[in-house]
Structures are given as structure tokens and as C-alpha cells.
């Protein structure tokens, strides 16, 4: 067990639960969105806020930063997705959807944006692709209906040839939206897939599921390779770009929540060894379930966002890098 005392930088910018935290490719900016309408951008170096994006009217479910860090994409419960200029914070494009936008993401080239929307009264879960090189004026380049279990998490596949989608019933699919077909479906999870995060090279990804597990799966054939087991639903997971470690953040069953008077929160982020599937460390700090986790792009730290509205940015100390399983 690692007993180090790591002092994290606490980013206090949201009034409501955090929904997602993301880094830009270079790792110097952190993007956070919460159930409040104003996503924020922060400097990873010292936690100073660059600014917040003003425009949405509801909870922001998802955020993504383009590979060149110049544009930000957000999706909200106010039935819209917006494209922002990172440097100025100005909204440059806005599209309206029929229901809340649950996932969003830039493609590899940064010229298209994908959105997935929730299933609500009258509207099926939909995947929408937009060409953002010019104002699409609300018209998606293509869209695809998802008839059965709704999408709870989605990411682009390698070279953006297809989308990888996680569903409420635990299904995992490869969707070719342009060809309007489901390339492949696999059922590895027994519960909803809360989060999917790609490995730095896009060849494999980790899924976080309500069924208390996270799994390591390859992008090309959706073949299950590793399973990481915990006692609680896993809300988010990420793979370290530097070491063979996987980070899991999760929640508690509602009935187990107790008011904690402790100074430091009891909800922990868990570290597993990628290959051996063994948990080797826990980092406490949040006062509520952890909703989103992410390693810094250089693997030297990680960030967690919780139900308590706090975002905690940690840097690993030397013990972490020397730590070896036998």
C-alpha cells in the first residue's frame, strides 16, 4: 500500500456535482463541467481558473477539448451542444437537439463533433455527427437512431472510423454512423456503462460500469482483456499513460450514504495494476461519490471530480514511480 501524503490542489468552482473532468492533450488545461450551467477551464500548473464558459441553461453533462486545444465542446441538459473558443471563452457555434446531450466528442482530426442524446418522451436515443468547419446551422452531417438500450457513454474509435458506445444495459457497440450500421456488439458488463476512456494511443479503452467493475477492452475487436473488481458501482475509470495502472472512481449505493463529519472525505479513488488486476492503493478526499477521474497526459498526476462539487488535482510523489509489484 502506498502511504504517501499527497497534497492535492482543490479546484472550487462548481456549486453542484461534477459530471466530467477532462485534460487537453498537452495537459496544461483542465476542463470541468457540473450540474450547474457554467463549465470551467483551469490551469493545471497551479489550479488557477482561466475562466468559465457562459451560455448554457442547464446541467452540463459532457465536455471535450480538441486535440489542438483551440476549441471546446460541451453538451447540456438544456438540449443544446455548444462549441467554444478556448482562449476567449466565446461560444462560436450552438446546435439544438431534441433531448439532453449525454456525450460529446471531437473526432481525431478535429473537424467533426459527435453528440449522443438521451431517450426521452417521444425521442429515441440518437447519435449526431456535425461538420464544424463551418456553421452547420443545426443540421447534422448524419445521424443514427439507437433503438434499444440508450447510450450512456460514447467515444470515437481509432482514426475515428467508428464510435464506441456504452449502453444502459451493459452493451458495448461499434457504430459506423456514416454507414448507419452497428459493426459489432459485445456484452461484457451486466450493468450500465457509466464512462469509457481511451488509452493514449486509442488501441484499447477502459469501461466503468454500474456492475461494480471496470474492464480493459481492445478498440478493434471489442475483446475483453482485463477486469477490475470493486464493491461499489464504478462511475469513471482511466488508464495511466505512464505506468501499468488503472484508476477507478465510484460511488456508493444510495442507502449506504451517511453524513460524514470527518475533515477528509471517505470516498476514495482506487488504483489497480493493469495486468495483475490487483488493487494496490486508495486515495481518499472526496465527500461524496467520485463521478469523473482522469490521469494527466504525462501520467504524473491525476484529477478527480466528485458529487460534492470538488475537483481535486493530485501529483504523484516519488514513491509512486518506484513502486513495483514483484
Amino acid at each position: 500500500q502506498l502511504n504517501q501524503i499527497m497534497k492535492p490542489i482543490c479546484l472550487l468552482g462548481h456549486m453542484r456535482s461534477i459530471t466530467q473532468v477532462r485534460f487537453n492533450r498537452d495537459g496544461d488545461l483542465i476542463f470541468t463541467c457540473a450540474k450547474d450551467p457554467h463549465p470551467s477551464i483551469w490551469f493545471a500548473l497551479n489550479g488557477e481558473r482561466l475562466g468559465s464558459l457562459v451560455g448554457h441553461n442547464g446541467a452540463v453533462w459532457c465536455v471535450d477539448c480538441r486535440w489542438d486545444s483551440k476549441k471546446v465542446l460541451t453538451g447540456s441538459a438544456d438540449n443544446s451542444a455548444k462549441l467554444w473558443d478556448t482562449e476567449t471563452g466565446k461560444c462560436v457555434l450552438s446546435v439544438d437537439t431534441n433531448s439532453a446531450v449525454r456525450s460529446c466528442g471531437f473526432d481525431f482530426a478535429g473537424t467533426s463533433a459527435m453528440l449522443t442524446t438521451d431517450k426521452t418522451m417521444g425521442y429515441k436515443c440518437t447519435i449526431l455527427l456535425y461538420d464544424i468547419r463551418q456553421d452547420p446551422a443545426g443540421q447534422p452531417a448524419c445521424q443514427m437512431l439507437v433503438p434499444e438500450s440508450k447510450i450512456t457513454s460514447a467515444v470515437w474509435g481509432p482514426l475515428s472510423r467508428f464510435l464506441i458506445t456504452g449502453h444502459e444495459n451493459g452493451d458495448l457497440c461499434q457504430m459506423d454512423v456514416r454507414a448507419q450500421k452497428v459493426i459489432r456488439t459485445e456484452k461484457h458488463h451486466k450493468g450500465a456503462i457509466n464512462d469509457i476512456r481511451m488509452y493514449k494511443d486509442g488501441t484499447m479503452f477502459v469501461t466503468a460500469s454500474k456492475d461494480h467493475t471496470a474492464r480493459l477492452i481492445d478498440s478493434y475487436e471489442l475483446q475483453l482483456f482485463k477486469t477490475y473488481k470493486t464493491e461499489r458501482p464504478v462511475n469513471s475509470a482511466d488508464i495511466s499513460p505512464l505506468r501499468p495502472h488503472v484508476l477507478l472512481g465510484g460511488g456508493q449505493e444510495a442507502q449506504d450514504v451517511t453524513t460524514s463529519g470527518a475533515h477528509v472525505g471517505k470516498f476514495d479513488a482506487k488504483f489497480f495494476h493493469t495486468v495483475y488486476e490487483e488493487e494496490f492503493a486508495r486515495v481518499k478526499g472526496h465527500f461524496g461519490p467520485i463521478n469523473s477521474v482522469g490521469f494527466t497526459p504525462d501520467g504524473r498526476g491525476f484529477v478527480t471530480g466528485g458529487e460534492d462539487g470538488f475537483v481535486r488535482l493530485h501529483s504523484f510523489d516519488n514513491d509512486y514511480f518506484d513502486f513495483e509489484f514483484e
Binding site: 486535440w67 481525431f108 482530426a109 475515428s160 488501441t203 481492445d218 482483456f225
Partner: protein, 692 residues
């Protein structure tokens, strides 16, 4: 038997036919006579050419010849022929030829006088006559010498880089027929890969002083082994070698064998470890204790005493006498080098008109730095402090001396003085301690300033006495009475000591911490014959050797405080247990002080590691993990192949290479950010008033 009648052979013709050629050659018929035939080849090997001689005129040529023969040649043997050619005017030409009676004499002379200086301007350059022809016939054109193939010995110090700094030890067991080298993992020593060998040595194992080599004995000579896999490094031929000695720097190996022959009368040979070449050999003339040749600490000099006559100090790498001559010292008895400086200590026996003396001399300057006169001396023994800080000369003195029938001195009422030379102080002051009881087992504390000895006789009860050398005196700090002790074994880092009763004394072991002179433990290893500390001072091992006792052969491993850690008794008939020595630490005294100061932080880390290793994963778990790792790496390799195959597409899509975080480093823009660390607000009207 002849027949009864004589046979008449008068009419027979016994001459050979004309064309008969017999088929027996001379060698068969006349073998022994032919062996005595003067061999032309032989004559060349006993001839030497001496060049570099001064050119003198005919008047002085006779003097020069006599000088050369006297000074350089006669002492090596009979000079059968000597010739100094001259030019038409009778002046010498600068060289001479000489022939010795035997080849060996010529060889000895060559080694001895090569490079000797005659005067300021002339140095002898000697070479064999046989070489002369070879050199004269040498090609005019220079051919570059053939490159000798590079023999990569690998990392001879690989064992020092073991993760947890564990030491190695060698065990000779199964009555000497099997030798195994182990990693000393406390409680669970593991044999080193490929280091369990049958008949590895024919007598014993011998580690080199810094631990780099393992020497094994064989009928043909010595073999050295080393490196990670203990491969053979070199072989040194010396038939029936009996005992060996390394120079402290490990560059040279000295071997002794009692088997001498007419062709090879030299019982002592010196080899260069690296090349395997024999550099010099010596006759063993007088009975002496081994090592006959004692080495200076850096291996620059080695010396021996010619009892009663002289000190012979040789230098390396020439292996010739320092300044080409021995140091003549009448009545010299013994010598001893400082373990850390080039200082030679020797003592001279007393004669009728001169007291005994102990003299300390620096080398190579041959400057006397200390002398001590001693009166009524029967015998002296020199004990150097391991760090060279002190020299203690144990002087056996007598109250009365008688002469026996054959003039050998007999000493009455012997008592002991210890003369302690303080080597690190100006002018090397000497202090004396007197002890009336019989004394044995004198030992210095390494890295400390204490010494201990056993006093008394067994029948009245032995005591172990500890002394402390202070700045101004030598204090007797502790007397431990009624101790059946015959060995005092100090830890190589000082402070801890084991008082042992080995062999016939029942194996009692008393562990003492000399910082407060408290006994930390009392143990017993019945019948123990040997005791050895590990090079770091953490462990003590006592062994019951099969060479002395045929039953219960085992080695017991204790901590420095005397706790029995474990027993090495699964090996049969252990003969020898030998820790592998370590080279001295590379840390400076300053660094060691710092580490001791910060001991707490280091302890924490090591305790954690110890905890981890004690709960170390079982073998099965480790194997399972190794399997998982290989599977995972295979899986990843396949995925990476796909990834690499898509690189072109990725470049097209983004226009730059973004595969790694710094793949497009050329596009990086350097930005300097300033963050205020402290902001202070000062009201101007509150500034202190400046006096007008």
C-alpha cells in the same frame, strides 16, 4: 649358454654385402652419448648482450670490465665467457657479451640488471643473445602487431549490485567435493545460479581480498573464477601449489609449492592476475611463515626479510629490487607493512652491544620516521591497527638471560610490554603498557581505538582485557574474568566483538557491545572450529568444520548482537564457510556521517522493504504474474502493430505527428508565466520618519 663343442667358423664370411645399409640410426645406438653432445642452440640461451655501457679508452677498459662483472654479473652465477669488443684504437664500443653457465642464471641476471643505472648518463640495456638474432633479422618494414582478441570478462563486480545489498558466501561441503556459492538472504540463503560445482577445488576456497575472484586449488596450479556466472578468469601454473597470497590490490598472486625440481627450483612464484603471466619466481631458502613476501597496501611494493641480514624490498611492476639493492640491516628479524600507508616496520634483535630496535621507514624514500630502542628483548611481534592508525609492538622481555650450552639464549621470567605507536600524531609518539601475565590473542578494534587480549594461563583462569587508546593515555577499560576464550573476533566495522572458545574450548560465544562494554548475548556452538564476520559487520558465522571434527558439521549464523538467526545444517560435511569480501566503501567520511545522521528516514524505507519481502509473494503468485505479463505484452504488441500501421492516416488527419506528447515539439511555443508569491501592502504615510 654356449654349446659343448666350439663351432668352426673359420671358413665363413661374415662381411656385409657391398650395398648393405644398416637400418639402425645413431640415436638408438648412441643415445646417451649424443645427449651429451654440445648443442649449438643451448649456447645462445645463456648469453646476454649488455649495451648502454660507457665508451672508455683502452686505459680504462680493464677497470670497466671488472666493474661490470663485480657489480652485475658474478652474483648470478659463473660467467663462463666475457668479452668487451673494442675498435681499432682500443676504445670500447659501448657493449659487452657474456655467457653464463646455465640458462637460468642468464635469465636471473637479465631480470635483475635490466635497466640498472651505472651512473647519471648510462643505463644498462640487457637482452638475450638469442633475441639479438631475431631483432637483427627483423623486417625493415614495420608491420602493425596483430590485435589480440578481446576477452570480455563481463562485470566482475556484478554481485555488489544486488537489489538489497546481500552478501555472498562460499561453502565447501560434502567433505570438500562440492563447493557452492550462496546469496545470503537471511534465513533463506539461495545458491547462486551455476555456482554449485563438484570438485571445484582440490583443497580449499580462497577469495581475493576485495572479493573479485574466487581462487581454487588444483594439482596443476591455481584457477581464478569470477563474474556473474563464476566463469574461469585465468589459470596459473604451479605444480602442487600448497598455499597462496594475493596482493591487497588483487593485481598479483603469489603461490608456493613444496615440489621443486632441478629445472624449476623456484618454490615461490608471482603472477600478474590480469594477464596470467608469471612475473618473477623465487627460491625458498629459509623456513619462514607464510606469506614470505609481504605486500604494501597498494601493491606497489613487496618485501621479505633475510633474517639477520637484510630487508629485500621489491617494486612493481618491474619486480626488481627497489634501487636495485637490498637494504642491509644487521640482525633484522621481521617486517610488517602499514595496512594504509607505505610505511614498513621492522625490528632488530638485540646483540651484545646493541639494544633491540623497532624502526618505521617510509617507502620508497627509505626515510626513518620513528625508532624505538627496547631493552632486554626476547622477541617482538608487530600488530597494525586495520586502518593504520596505530602500530602495537608486543615485546616479550626478560628479567634474566642465560646462554645455553650451544650459545642459544634462554630467557627467564618473561613479561610483556606493548609499545603503541600513534601513527597519526606528529613525530609518532610511543606509549607503553606492561602486562605481567601470559598474553595471547592480541587484536585491534577496526575503525576504533580499542584493543583486546587474553591474559593469564588456562589453569588459573583466563581473562579478556580491553584497553582504550585515548588522546593522552591508554586506559584499561574492562577486565572480563574467568573466560574460556581463545579467539577474539571483532566486527569489521568495529564496536562489536565476539569472544569465542573455539575447537577444544567447547564453542562458547560471548557477544559484547564495546560502546558500553555490555554483553549482548551468550551463545554456544559446541565444537565450533571457525568464526567469521561478514564484510558489513551484520552477521557472525561459526562453523564446525569437517576438517577438524567429523560429526555435527554445520554453520550457525548470528546477528551482530548475538541472536541466532538460522543454521546452515542441510549441507553435508561442511568443511569451510567463507564470506565473500567487499571492496572498501566509496563513500567519504562526510557522507557516512550524513547517512548516520539521517538514519531515521533510511530506516523507515528499509523497514518497509523488509516488511514487503517478509510478506513476499509466494512462488506460485510470482509465476502467475509472470504469465499474465507475457500474455499482456503479446496482446499489446498486436495492438501496437495496428497502431503503427495507421500512422500515415494520423498524419494526414492532423497534419502533424501527435503520437507522443513531444512528437511535434518543434511547434511548441515557450511561454514564461509569472505568479506572484507574496503580495504586501504598505501604507505610505505609516513609513518610519527619516531623521532630518
Amino acid at each position: 649358454m654356449g654349446s659343448e663343442e666350439d663351432i668352426d667358423v673359420s671358413g665363413e664370411d661374415f662381411t656385409d654385402p657391398d650395398d648393405f645399409v644398416d637400418d639402425i640410426d645413431d640415436k638408438e645406438l648412441l643415445g646417451d652419448i649424443l645427449a651429451e653432445k654440445p648443442q649449438e642452440k643451448k649456447a645462445i640461451n645463456n648469453a646476454l648482450v649488455l649495451s648502454g655501457l660507457p665508451i672508455v679508452d683502452s686505459a680504462r677498459i680493464e677497470r670497466l670490465q671488472v666493474f661490470i662483472r663485480d657489480k652485475f654479473l658474478d652474483k648470478h652465477g659463473e660467467v663462463v665467457k666475457f668479452s668487451m669488443p673494442t675498435d681499432e684504437n682500443g676504445n670500447s664500443l659501448g657493449f659487452a657479451l657474456c655467457c653464463f653457465q646455465t640458462d637460468q642464471q642468464a635469465l636471473d641476471a637479465l631480470t635483475d640488471i635490466q635497466g640498472a643505472s651505472l651512473d647519471k648518463m648510462h643505463t644498462l640495456n640487457v637482452f638475450k643473445f638469442s633475441d639479438f638474432n631475431r631483432l637483427a633479422d627483423a623486417d625493415d618494414e614495420w608491420k602493425p602487431p596483430e590485435k589480440a582478441p578481446f576477452v570480455d570478462r563481463g562485470d566482475l563486480r556484478s554481485w555488489l549490485r544486488e537489489d538489497r545489498c546481500h552478501d555472498q558466501f562460499g561453502v565447501l561441503h560434502t567433505a570438500g567435493s562440492v563447493a557452492t556459492i550462496y546469496w545470503h538472504w537471511p534465513g533463506d540463503p539461495q545458491p547462486v545460479d551455476s555456482a554449485t560445482r563438484n570438485n571445484w577445488t582440490e583443497s580449499r576456497l580462497h577469495w581475493s581480498p576485495l572479493g573479485t575472484y574466487l581462487a581454487t586449488y588444483h594439482t596443476k596450479g591455481i584457477a581464478l573464477w569470477g563474474g556473474e556466472k563464476f566463469e574461469q578468469i585465468n589459470r596459473f601454473q604451479h605444480k602442487n601449489v600448497q598455499i597462496i597470497d594475493f596482493s591487497p590490490c588483487e593485481r598479483y598472486l603469489v603461490t608456493f609449492s613444496p615440489s621443486v625440481t632441478k629445472e624449476d627450483p623456484h618454490a615461490i612464484k608471482m603472477f600478474e592476475v590480469d594477464t596470467g603471466k608469471m612475473k618473477r619466481s623465487f627460491l625458498h631458502e629459509q623456513a619462514a611463515k607464510w606469506p614470505v613476501f609481504k605486500w604494501s597496501h597498494k601493491g606497489e611494493f613487496f618485501a621479505r626479510v633475510q633474517t639477520g641480514k637484510a630487508l629485500q624490498v621489491f617494486e612493481t611492476p618491474s619486480f626488481s629490487l627497489l634501487d636495485k639493492k637490498s637494504i642491509s640491516v644487521q640482525d633484522v628479524q621481521d617486517l610488517s607493512w602499514s595496512p594504509t600507508d607505505n610505511i614498513l616496520a621492522y625490528w632488530i634483535a638485540e646483540t651484545d652491544n646493541q639494544p633491540a630496535r623497532v624502526i618505521l621507514m617510509t617507502m620508497p624514500e627509505k626515510r626513518e620516521v620513528a625508532t624505538k630502542m627496547l631493552f632486554n628483548v626476547a622477541d617482538c611481534r608487530m600488530h597494525w591497527h586495520p586502518q593504520g592508525n596505530y602500530l602495537c609492538v608486543r615485546v616479550n622481555r626478560y628479567t634474566k638471560k642465560k646462554l645455553d650450552a650451544d650459545n642459544t639464549p634462554k630467557y627467564i621470567n618473561i613479561y610483556t610490554n606493548f609499545e603503541v605507536f600513534r601513527m597519526r600524531e606528529k613525530n609518532i609518539p610511543v606509549e607503553k603498557i606492561e602486562v605481567t601475565d601470559a598474553v595471547s590473542c592480541f587484536t585491534w578494534e577496526p575503525h576504533g581505538s580499542k584493543f583486546a587480549m587474553v591474559q593469564g594461563i588456562a589453569s588459573k583462569g583466563l581473562s579478556v582485557v580491553f584497553y582504550q587508546v585515548n588522546a593522552h593515555d591508554i586506559e584499561k577499560v574492562k577486565v572480563l574474568e574467568k573466560r574460556n576464550v581463545n579467539t577474539i573476533s571483532w566486527s569489521p566495522i568495529g564496536q562489536h566483538v565476539v569472544l569465542a572458545g573455539l575447537r577444544s574450548a567447547n564453542g562458547g560465544l560471548e557477544f559484547i557491545d564495546t560502546s558500553d562494554m555490555k554483553t549482548t548475548a551468550n551463545q554456544e556452538h559446541f565444537g565450533a572450529t571457525d568464526i567469521e564476520w561478514d564484510p558489513t559487520g551484520r552477521y557472525v558465522v561459526t562453523t564446525v568444520s569437517f576438517w577438524h571434527v567429523k560429526v555435527d558439521n554445520a554453520s550457525h549464523v548470528y546477528s551482530s548482537h548475538g541472536t541466532l538467526l538460522y543454521k546452515l545444517n542441510k549441507l553435508e560435511r561442511i568443511c569451510q564457510f567463507a564470506w565473500r569480501p567487499r571492496p572498501p566503501t566509496l563513500l567519504s567520511d562526510e557522507q557516512i556521517k550524513n547517512i548516520k545522521k539521517n538514519m531515521k528516514t533510511y530506516s523507515r524505507r528499509f523497514e518497509k522493504e523488509d516488511l514487503q519481502s517478509s510478506t513476499r509473494a509466494s512462488k506460485e503468485l510470482l509465476e502467475k504474474r509472470a504469465r499474465l505479463k507475457t500474455e499482456y505484452e503479446k496482446w499489446r504488441a498486436k495492438l501496437l502493430e495496428k497502431f503503427r500501421g495507421e500512422k500515415q492516416k494520423r498524419l494526414e488527419l492532423r497534419g502533424v505527428d501527435t503520437d507522443e506528447l513531444d512528437s511535434n515539439a518543434q511547434d511548441f511555443v515557450e511561454e514564461t508565466l509569472e505568479f506572484p508569491i507574496k503580495v504586501e501592502r504598505i501604507r505610505i504615510d505609516k513609513l518610519p520618519q527619516v531623521a532630518e
